[in-house]
């Protein structure tokens, strides 16, 4: 078991190194290697994780440990129900993304480095979810940040890709400082860096309420950055220039999910410090509505999905903030499934159309039948349509927040009410933007692709069109994707459709020792009615706006980026200018002055070097006499 676990962790790293090593010399080998390794990883993850589901006891293993002063830093793994489901999620999505990338990036010249980074990303996520040592977790955490930087900047010749990558890196790294300080604080407080030990100590009680508020707040800050919550939410939509499979990986299984995972992993700490839960609840309530509104207004298909990720992550944090652990985790899993499906389907659409702008799409229902079916399922799950998985998990979250508002003791009641109102409102807006995007992509008239629409991602090179077979006509360019891309869509559609069963039997996944209160039938009925009415309003509004020029409604954007620009970027730039000027005019002046004075002194001394040997000798004689006199005087 322990060897399997170690192999599971090391497999992606080995695959990444091998892919980089082989590189362009044998692209077919790289393709086989990456897909095979991720498939093997999925099998291994299944072998490791499935026995841990349900009521099984968690297993841990310490592979190595430092023996220096202070609490030991250990290479230790720990797999419980949470790690197990996260392992399954991450490796499933990773495997599907690798398969999908075979078609999506078939002609990409940077495929080897891309696939190596995907493998590395998966490995980092594996480290994070299985680490039992806080420092080991930090290593995986930061590795994910670095991988996301490289993958977002995959098309590094585009300025927006570079900017998005730098923005993502800076924002998440800034927030990661919180994790670093929290680790140090926890290490000092508990004299151990082992997560299971610390959490057991906290769960045993003996702590005053909010005694550990500082590390909990710091962890919350790190999570807010990693999972793109307000006020650090702007990096995620700006990360869209990366390839679409990467967006699926980041949004569904790894990067942003790691934030939710960290909260769940250190949940006893948060439960003992409701101040941090209040913070999370407030941030979540604000972020979910904000993200949904942005998604409603975005013209770019990938941005719609990115904003919806921000909004859905806020749902998970909201659930965790009110103490609904299993609701949050199940929503994370459900979201992983349907968001991966949505992104991969969106990639298929982009692959076909050659643009990510929704204005260049429309009427794709007939041309992309497989994509249409699967994406419809995905949108339905995101909107929370009755039999799909999103319906159950979102209903669980809303119900949990209602419980917290009426009878909860963890967070302030008024905040719980705000959260509840926000979840309901966001659910309605979610229906609206899902419906809008769905209609605009698959219905309506075919857009003329003559006008070059602004696009967030460069169109992947379409498959080489056989010149003899067909003349490249505009209509025939829109084609269904290859099976390497369609297969993962159907595979992901399965859990999206029937995943609701997990809500009915949550103890099969997460064990029965936790309290699951997930089904709220009367609330579900009310929500379904509300959703139906929201859909009706959306369709009505859509009908009204057709034929007219679409007028973008004005929504005041919280000037977050503007504040960052004015408050951080510009002062740093000015400081850099100042430092440069200081370096040039002060530091260099010292160096130049030292050189000039040495030269001047040398010029003076040079006058004595006139080549007259007798003059030199005179100086020598006088010096020797002076030395003799000095020696005599001192003796």
């Amino acid at each position: 078991m322990s060897a399997l676990l170690l192999g599971l962790v090391l497999l992606p790293f080995g695959s990444a190194a091998l892919s980089l090593l082989v590189g362009h010399r044998a692209e077919v080998a790289v393709k086989g290697l990456s897909v095979g390794a991720s498939g093997l990883g999925l099998v291994l993850a299944g072998v490791v994780a499935v026995p841990q589901l349900g009521d099984a006891a968690a297993t841990g293993q310490v592979y190595a440990s430092t023996s220096a002063a202070g609490p030991p830093i250990e290479l230790s793994m720990y797999v419980d129900q949470l790690s197990a489901v996260m392992l399954l999620l991450a490796h499933t999505v990773s495997f599907l993304v690798q398969v999908y990338s075979l078609g999506y990036l078939a002609a990409d010249p940077r495929y080897p480095s891309y696939t190596a980074l995907v493998a590395l990303f998966t490995g980092a996520m594996t480290v994070v979810v299985t680490a039992d040592d806080l420092w080991l977790l930090l290593v995986g955490w930061e590795l994910m940040g670095a991988c996301s930087y490289f993958l977002i900047a995959h098309h590094w010749e585009l300025p927006e890709a570079r900017e998005g990558a730098v923005k993502a890196f800076l924002m998440t790294r800034t927030a990661d400082l919180g994790l670093l300080f929290a680790i140090i604080l926890l290490g000092i407080r508990f004299d151990s860096y082992r997560i299971s030990t610390i959490m057991a100590a906290i769960s045993d009680g003996g702590f005053v309420r909010d005694e550990l508020w500082l590390p909990a707040m710091l962890l919350g800050a790190a999570v807010i950055g990693k999972s793109a919550q307000f006020p650090l939410h702007t990096w995620l939509p700006d990360a869209m220039p990366g390839p679409t499979p990467i967006s699926a990986l980041i949004h569904a299984a790894t990067m942003v999910a790691a934030g939710v995972f960290l909260v769940a992993r250190t949940y006893p700490l948060f439960l003992s410090a409701p101040a941090a839960l209040n913070l999370l609840a407030g941030v979540a309530a604000l972020t979910m509505l904000l993200g949904a509104l942005y998604a409603l207004l975005s013209e770019d298909l990938k941005r719609v999905l990115a904003w919806s990720t921000v909004s859905q992550l806020a749902y998970m944090f909201g659930a965790l903030a009110v103490g609904a652990y299993s609701a949050g985790i199940l929503h994370l899993l459900a979201h992983g499934a349907f968001k991966a499906l949505l992104f991969l389907a969106a990639g298929s659409v982009v692959h076909a159309v050659g643009s990510t702008s929704m204005s260049s799409m429309g009427g794709l229902r007939e041309k992309l039948p497989d994509t249409f079916i699967t994406m419809t399922v995905g949108f339905g799950a995101l909107a929370g349509i009755a039999p799909l998985v999103g319906f159950f998990t979102k209903d669980a979250v809303i119900g949990a927040s209602l419980d917290a508002a009426t009878a909860g003791r963890l967070i302030w009641p008024w905040l719980a009410w705000v959260l509840f109102a926000s979840t309901v409102l966001t659910a309605l807006v979610t229906v609206a933007y899902c419906l809008r995007a769905w209609l605009r992509v698959f219905f309506g008239q075919v857009a003329s692709s003559a006008e070059p629409a602004p696009t967030s991602e460069p169109a992947p090179p379409a498959e080489p069109v056989d010149e003899d077979q067909q003349p490249p006509v505009l209509v025939t360019e829109v084609h269904e994707s290859p099976w390497a891309m369609r297969g993962p869509l159907y595979l992901l559609a399965v859990p999206t459709t029937v995943g609701g069963l997990a809500v009915a039997y949550p103890h099969l996944l997460l064990g029965s020792e936790r309290e699951h209160h997930l089904l709220h039938p009367e609330l579900a009925v009310v929500m379904t009615l509300l959703i139906a009415s929201a859909a009706a309003v959306t369709i009505w509004a859509g009908r009204r706006s057709t034929g007219r020029a679409t007028r973008r409604p004005f929504v005041p954007h919280p000037p977050v980026d503007r504040i960052y620009e004015v408050g951080l970027v510009r002062p740093v730039r000015r400081l850099a200018l100042l430092v440069r000027a200081g370096d040039r005019d002060v530091i260099d002046a010292y160096a130049v002055g030292a050189g000039a004075s040495a030269r001047g002194l040398g010029w003076v001394l040079r006058l004595s070097q006139n080549g007259n040997v007798q003059g030199y000798l005179m100086v020598v004689v006088v010096g020797a006499a002076a030395l003799a006199v000095a020696a005599g005087v001192m003796a």
Partner: protein, 186 residues
Amino acid sequence: MSVVEVLFLLLGLAALGSALLVVSTKNMVHAALWLVVTLASIAGIYLLLAAEFVAWVQVLIYVGAVVVLLLFALMLTRAPTGPQPDTTVARVLPAAAVAVLVAALLATTVVAGFTGVRLDLDGAVVGSAATTGETIFEKWVLPFEVLSVLLLAALVGAIVLSRLRTDDTEDRGRPREQRDAQEVRR
């Protein structure tokens, strides 16, 4: 005042006076000749100080060989024989001050250090050729051999230096220069 003391004073004064003339005369050949007087006086002083063999060696090598070499050098460098106005550099006064400083320093040291010490020459062993030979070849053989190696090295060095050719010697006639170099080597 004994005869030895009187002779010492006379010889010492002769040595000092001729040495002053060596460094101050305006005629270069005269300087070499005055150097002969100084060296001979010093040889006499050696005799007075019971160093017989050293005195003869002084006469042979210094008065004989070294002064002749110096005279050869003066002639080969075509030194003018008459009095010259510019045999000294312009810095006479500073140089004299330095010399006086050195003299004062050394004189003060030795006079203050050895006042009242008598040099008793009555029972002294005279450094004749026999005693000196015994001493050198019994007690000082190794330094003697080392010195012979030094002499050989000096000989080789002189040959190498005299065979150096510079580019601007063509217009002065090489055969003559080569002959000069051989003279020096001898």
